[in-house]
């Protein structure tokens, strides 16, 4: 029996379209892998075996009869368990929601259904998506499939680990302060946070409404592009939704970087970065230059304020979402999440509004910079993939706060709503190093094109992962 679970979405999709692979057979292969491996990795909170096989058989009949819905048709995928799916429980990673049955589909779930995707189940996440390690006190820790002593990252850690280990062909995550890109970097896969408003957040449990994004995760840049094209588009049910047609990035994917102008802001992206991580990203930049890209030094000192503004906005909005629940049932929250929500009660209204003003100011600074460069490139994480339970990491011999470090560089794209992808750029101590590419608003194509070139430079480290 062919092991479809180790294939890229692009390959599975092609086999299904050509009717060389049966969607039912593909789904069974991946579901069997979930049965055998998920007890060790804990990537799913719920698995819909019967429902998934039924969807796969419907897809199979449709394709046989000449009805082909597109590249996700008959492809088995997972979704993060903060996304509503009709008649299923959405736990949001919290014990308080262990019986919360959704009556509607999230906007992105509707899109997947229209595209004919087979939804396998819902992935584990950091409690309420309010953390970056997926050490969940209610549903257990998700382990990194590359090294079970390491974090999978978060908050979309279950999805990243499932994709990296063959338990999902692709998945949907959410990203408020790096929650797609951090686990993608930790698990050696590709994760894209699109432009704010590109993908509907309707039916996605909110964390911080002006920072929340929904986006794709996959084994390759092409996989992520295929998923993105299926889930973008205007949704009037999401007040932040942009009224633009769906993207068509996959068909236009190009690794030609000959006229690409890469912004290199050493101060923001490379300060206090582990030397081995910086070397890995530096190697990628040199290879991009060899292929014709220009690396342009640029200094934006104002970006130093980004972490402050993001923290004020993120924690204030999250604490607003949880205000009543936290007051009534504080004991139902995990220790780290409760502390975060209490921190979010500290800023005054003036602090919050000043943070929004900083954000607005930084938006102008960066949009002006995009006149001179096409993308910014830096590491996704300034540190090596941490061990589980690690709260202090070493950067070139100096101790740093692990959690703050994980979010430090990725948060800028959330603050400014910019598209940003993490793509594997190499290995340090047999663990992946993510390269982060940030583009201008609606610049998903150039971000993915650049990532596509990086993937070719590194030959896709997914091939080194022992699935």
């Amino acid at each position: 029996m062919t092991d479809f679970s180790t294939m890229t979405l692009e390959t599975v999709s092609k086999l299904v379209r050509e009717q060389s692979a049966s969607p039912v057979e593909v789904a069974e292969t991946v579901l069997d892998r979930i049965s055998s491996d998920d007890p060790h990795l804990n990537t799913y909170i719920s698995v819909f075996r019967e429902q998934a096989l039924h969807s796969a058989s419907v897809a199979e009949r449709e394709i046989r009869s000449g009805v082909y819905r597109g590249p996700l048709h008959g492809v088995p995928m997972g979704i993060k368990d903060n996304l509503s799916m009709r008649n299923t429980v959405t736990t949001v990673g919290s014990s308080m929601h262990c019986n919360s049955v959704s009556s509607v589909n999230a906007g992105v779930v509707d899109k997947l259904a229209s595209a004919g995707a087979v939804i396998l189940g819902k992935h584990n996440l950091h409690e309420f998506a309010l953390g970056v390690t997926t050490e969940n006190p209610h549903y257990g820790t998700t382990f990194n499939p590359l090294n079970s002593a390491k974090i999978a990252g978060g908050s979309s850690g279950g999805g990243a680990a499932a994709v990296a280990s063959g338990m999902s062909i692709g998945t949907i995550g959410s990203d408020t302060s790096g929650s797609i890109r951090i686990p993608a970097a930790c698990c050696g896969i590709v994760g894209l946070k699109p432009t704010y408003g590109r993908v509907s957040r309707y039916g996605c449990f909110p964390e911080a409404w002006t920072l929340d994004h929904v986006g794709p995760m996959g084994r390759s840049v092409a996989d992520v592009a295929l998923i993105l094209d299926a889930i973008t588009g205007f949704d009037p049910r999401d007040h932040g939704s942009l009224d633009y047609p769906p993207t068509s990035t996959a068909s236009q994917l190009s690794s030609d970087v000959r006229r690409l102008r890469i912004g290199f802001d050493e101060s923001y992206f490379f300060s206090n970065v582990d030397a081995s991580v910086a070397d890995t990203v530096g190697h990628v930049l040199r290879q991009l230059e060899r292929r014709g890209a220009s690396v342009i030094p640029i200094d934006l000192p104002e970006l130093d304020a980004a972490e402050y503004a993001l923290t004020i906005i993120d924690t204030s909005e999250a604490s607003t979402v949880h205000r009543t629940s936290l007051a009534r049932r504080p004991e139902r929250y995990g220790e780290d999440v409760r502390f975060l929500l209490e921190c979010g009660q500290l800023p005054s209204a003036i602090d919050y509004l000043e943070a929004q003003q900083i954000r607005s100011s930084l938006k102008w600074v960066v949009s002006t910079a995009f006149d001179a460069v096409d993308v910014f490139i830096g590491p996704t994480l300034p540190i090596r993939v941490p061990d589980l339970g690690e709260r202090e990491s070493l950067v070139n011999g100096h101790p740093v706060d692990t959690i703050e470090s994980l979010m430090r560089i990725v948060g800028l794209a959330n603050l400014l709503g910019l598209p940003s992808v993490s793509v594997p750029g190499g290995l340090v101590d047999d663990m992946p190093v993510g390269v982060q590419i940030v583009g201008p608003p609606l610049g998903e194509q150039i971000v993915l094109d650049t990532a596509f070139c990086v993937e070719q430079i590194t030959c896709g480290i997914k091939e080194t992962v022992d699935l």
Partner: protein, 58 residues
């Protein structure tokens, strides 16, 4: 902006109060001097957010 010694003053758990004060103190340090250079063009922003434009969403 609240001062660190005010933070946690209403908290009955002294350890938690100290943790919150420490958090706030370290956050203030990250604020830097950027606010000093904010021009009047961003003073009237609304809370809504649209990445395509410099101002309010609505």
């Amino acid at each position: 902006m609240s001062q660190p010694d005010e933070i946690g003053s209403n908290c009955s758990d002294s350890n938690r109060a100290a943790e919150l004060a420490q958090y706030w103190e370290s956050l203030i340090l990250k604020r830097g001097s950027h606010m000093d250079s904010l021009g009047p063009d961003v003073r009237d922003i609304a809370v809504g957010f649209d990445p395509r434009v410099g101002g309010a969403h609505d």
